[in-house]
Amino acid sequence: MKILVVDDEPDVQALFEQRFRKEIRNGELNFSFAFSGEEALHYLEGHASEIVMILSDINMPGMSGIELLKTIRKDNPLAPPVIMMITAYGDTDNYSQAMKFGADDFLTKPVNFTELKKKLQERYES
């Protein structure tokens, strides 16, 4: 399962790679990283069919996670990837907006990796 993680913090890559070390080694999960909304869209142009899931932060410089969500939902209506948005704690505005534009799931910062692993496991199995 290929997952695209979109976050403006480069350290996210190291964190995900370490957190999912075993899963990556087993070949269960395959992560790609984009550090802005624009970069994510650019990546999707070439790999649209591969990406099964997108994990995106909302507050990013340039294109925000919500805009990214809107664009993806508009451009890929036929084979929609699963999109999980990462919302800041208590940020109800972004939560309801993400909900409105068709996000599949939500994670709150700080990301609880145990919970995320469980969610990915469920999706992977189904």
Partner: protein, 456 residues
């Protein structure tokens, strides 16, 4: 006869002119006496068959009266009149002397002239009197006019004085009103400064929390994953073929590393909970105001706070007193936020009484202490009043001044974030347009008072 008329009228005139009856009662008596003397003299004159001796007695009497008039200051106003009698007295005197020393034949020859002169002197006298009377009348009239004028002036003066007094009262009243307004303004200003301070502190707090949140997440996540990595490392080392003593040494280091990472995670989580508390500050109050049973809410959170403390300290005991106003009904509030305020206030109260209990146990000389926490609700004049009172440790003025500031706490490190009251303050003042006041007697009691306006 003529002297009688003279003295009688003169005395009468003096008494009238000087108003002796009221103004000079002593002199009035003497004047009345003089009148009787003149009546007496006249009577004596006729009784003694027109005796010449009696008629001579008039002279000392009249002289005496005139002497008094001209020597006593009280009679100054009637002197000019008295002067009018001089010609008559002089002619009478001359007449009587002439009759005595001049031979009767000669006297009779010129007697007619003397009588004529006497009559003229008498007429003169009355003319003077009449004139004086007339002048007096004019004077009286003028005086009357002056008196009326004075009265009018007096009335005007009184009216003016009344006006001045009225104005003064008005001005005093205005001054007091202004003073009152000024005092109110001053206290409002103090409140504004306080709430501004709190607002900017709240914003600052939220800003800091936002900025700290992301790096803190990384700290927590990396430390957590490092623990996992340590475990993996240990597993991998077990597979290698290095000597057991080396393995032990290495695994010792790994376990220390793992412990360190766990400590980082632990303290990172602590910081995280503080950050969460800070963020609750800025959270634009979620949810809507809904009709809430304030009494039930207060009661619920009072028990919650009590049992929360009991769970930590089995020995702790306190009397819970509730004095609820049953007429409150349901009031539009943010139940979750107000609940948080209640929880903070009650937790603090129970903490304060528990502290005092602990102190009284340490010092057996203190009188027996019965912890008590009380909540009072009251709806009055479209305002909801909630008071939370405890008989705990109280607090000094220096502490009282800071309790609503974020991060201010008197609890030991780790037991309080110092955000509870700061947040409660925000919830009451911002979300409910209310007031949160505190009064405290150090060592005795603390009272928090919430005032929330209620739309009728």
């Amino acid at each position: 006869m003529e002297f009688f008329l003279l003295t009688f009228f003169l005395i009468q005139f003096i008494r009238k002119r000087l108003e002796t009856a009221t103004k000079l009662p002593e002199w009035d008596k003497l004047l009345l006496g003089a009148r009787y003397v003149s009546i007496g003299l006249m009577a004596a004159y006729y009784i003694f068959d027109e005796s010449k001796i009696v008629s001579w007695l008039w002279y000392p009497f009249v002289s005496y009266v005139l002497w008094i008039i001209f020597t006593k200051d009280e009679f100054k106003p009637v002197r000019s009149l008295a002067q009018g009698s001089f010609p008559f007295i002089a002619i009478s005197l001359f007449n009587d002397f002439a009759r005595l020393i001049v031979p009767t034949k000669l006297f009779n020859q010129y007697g007619d002239y003397l009588v004529t002169a006497k009559v003229f002197a008498f007429i003169w006298l009355f003319a003077v009197w009449y004139n004086s009377q007339k002048q007096q009348r004019v004077l009286d009239k003028e005086r009357e006019a002056q008196r009326i004028k004075d009265e009018v002036n007096q009335a005007k003066k009184e009216a003016l004085e009344y006006l001045v007094t009225e104005r003064t009262i008005e001005l005093t009243r205005q001054k007091e009103e202004l003073q009152k307004t000024l005092d109110e303004l001053k206290s409002t200003q103090a409140q504004l400064i306080q709430s501004e301070k709190m607002a900017s502190l709240g914003e600052l707090t939220a800003g800091i929390a936002h900025e700290i949140q992301n790096p803190l997440n990384f700290v927590n996540n990396f430390s957590e994953v490092s623990v996992e990595l340590c475990q993996e490392l240990e597993e991998e080392i077990a597979k290698t073929s290095i000597s057991d003593s080396d393995k032990e040494y290495i695994s010792g280091i790994i376990s220390d590393l793992s412990q360190n990472q766990q400590k980082i995670t632990h303290h990172g989580k602590r910081a995280d909970s503080i950050v969460k508390g800070m963020l609750q500050h800025s959270r634009t109050s979620s949810g809507h105001k809904e009709p809430t049973d304030i009494n039930a809410l207060a009661d619920e959170y009072m028990r919650l706070a009590y049992h929360g403390l009991r769970a930590k300290d089995k020995e702790f005991n306190a009397t819970l007193v509730t004095d609820f106003d049953p007429t409150i009904g349901k009031i539009d509030v943010l139940p979750q936020d107000l609940g948080r305020v209640f929880l903070n206030l009650f937790t603090n109260s129970f903490y304060a009484v528990a502290e005092k209990k602990r102190l009284s146990k340490e010092n057996p000389t203190l009188p027996d202490y019965k912890p008590e926490v009380k909540v009072i609700t009251k709806l009055f004049a479209n305002k909801l009043y909630i008071r939370v009172i405890d008989n705990g440790t109280g607090m000094p003025e220096s502490v009282k001044a800071k309790i609503f500031q974020p991060f201010f706490t008197t609890k030991p490190t780790g037991q309080g974030t110092g955000l509870g009251l700061s947040m409660s303050y925000d919830i009451i003042t911002k979300s409910h347009d209310g007031l949160l006041d505190v009064t405290s007697v150090p060592g005795e009691s603390t009272e928090f008072k919430i005032t929330i306006p209620v739309n009728a």
